[in-house]
Symmetry: C2
Subunit: 204 residues, 2 copies
């Protein structure tokens, strides 16, 4: 996203905006804690980028709501949406605050790491490279949960994020996959995506 993008009114359905804001804000919390725990600057930068995206969505949402509300009755009907949207924006801000600790090289105190370790599963980013057996596969066909104990919780495809992708989602070359799971599982999965794990080894 260009850094000084002009926010222009776009007639995107309010429900689409809301769904994306809610999903992104929840993903961002997980990403932020994981970035802090593993001092993962790349993940932290993703969170900060996503925060800018949620801000954009929040502006668009506010404009949609203004346009939609013609009278007091409409306004009453819409104030609930507007409040929930503002709350998801606040959550995404909080996630970005956590991520900024990492990008600004502030030390995460061992106490905090210890707590995150207790409560968070590891999130890892993996880019699907040429030669990976993931290319062209449906998520449902991979049965990753059973095979490696990992879940794909988000896909970044170009500039879009697909949150909590369905089994029917196909994986493409250059997709960035965010996975959650046990440390060994996500490590193996990363190798699989980056085509440095042999097919036979992965299918054991």
């Amino acid at each position: 996203m260009p850094r000084f993008e002009k926010i222009e009114y776009k007639p995107i359905p309010v429900s689409d905006l809301m769904l994306e804001m809610k999903n992104l804000s929840e993903l961002m919390i997980d990403l932020a804690y994981s970035a802090a725990l593993f001092n993962d600057k790349e993940l932290a930068e993703d969170v900060i980028e996503l925060e800018a995206r949620v801000d954009t969505l929040a502006y668009l949402m506010d404009m949609e709501i203004m346009v939609a509300a013609r009278d007091a009755k409409d306004a009453e009907a819409l104030i609930g949406i507007s409040t929930v949207a503002a709350a998801t924006d606040k959550i995404s801000d909080a996630a970005a605050d956590i991520a900024a600790i990492v990008t600004r090289n502030i030390n995460i105190h061992p106490l905090v790491s210890e707590i995150f370790e207790k409560t968070e599963k590891q999130l890892t980013k993996a880019t699907v490279k040429e030669g990976s057996l993931l290319v062209g596969k449906l998520i449902g066909d991979l049965d990753l949960a059973a095979l490696m104990g990992v879940d794909i919780i988000a896909i970044r495809r170009n500039k879009d994020w697909i949150i909590d992708p369905k089994d029917s989602e196909r994986i493409f070359l250059n997709d960035v996959l965010i996975t959650r799971g046990a440390p060994q599982g996500v490590k193996d999965f990363k190798k699989l995506a980056e085509a440095s794990l042999l097919t036979t080894e992965a299918q054991k």
Copy 2:
């Protein structure tokens, strides 16, 4: 909690404060969305009460950090904790904003409900009543996930909250259990807790 409790310094370990703040803030988001989706005023009031609790924890945390930091080096070591604590506080505020829609009788627009329905599993509160077969049982012994498709995500015991209780946690009379699961499952579970479901029927 008394409404105008005086905040007094208590030497609670920072790690305990942080763990509780993180867990509560995450639980609150789930509770708040669920309260909004099902227009559940009781759940919404719990969220608002929890928000006051997180505020108290945040004050205690700030004081602990002040006391712990004797010099610039300490302050550098502690700024990460302080930032994460502030972020969890912000998340809990956002959850309380969503809950306030419910307690203030603001209509949740059908669009929002639709989105929450897509993304949230139902959360239900059930109080363990006399005669319930849950009394005295370990969570692990119940095998609720397999039996009814529900999880106990929190227990409220008097004024304490046990978040994400372990299998070794015992259920007591008057515990308030927050469960998540499929609509029929949580409904059956509520009956089981409130002793209005016959033992034999539950064990089918």
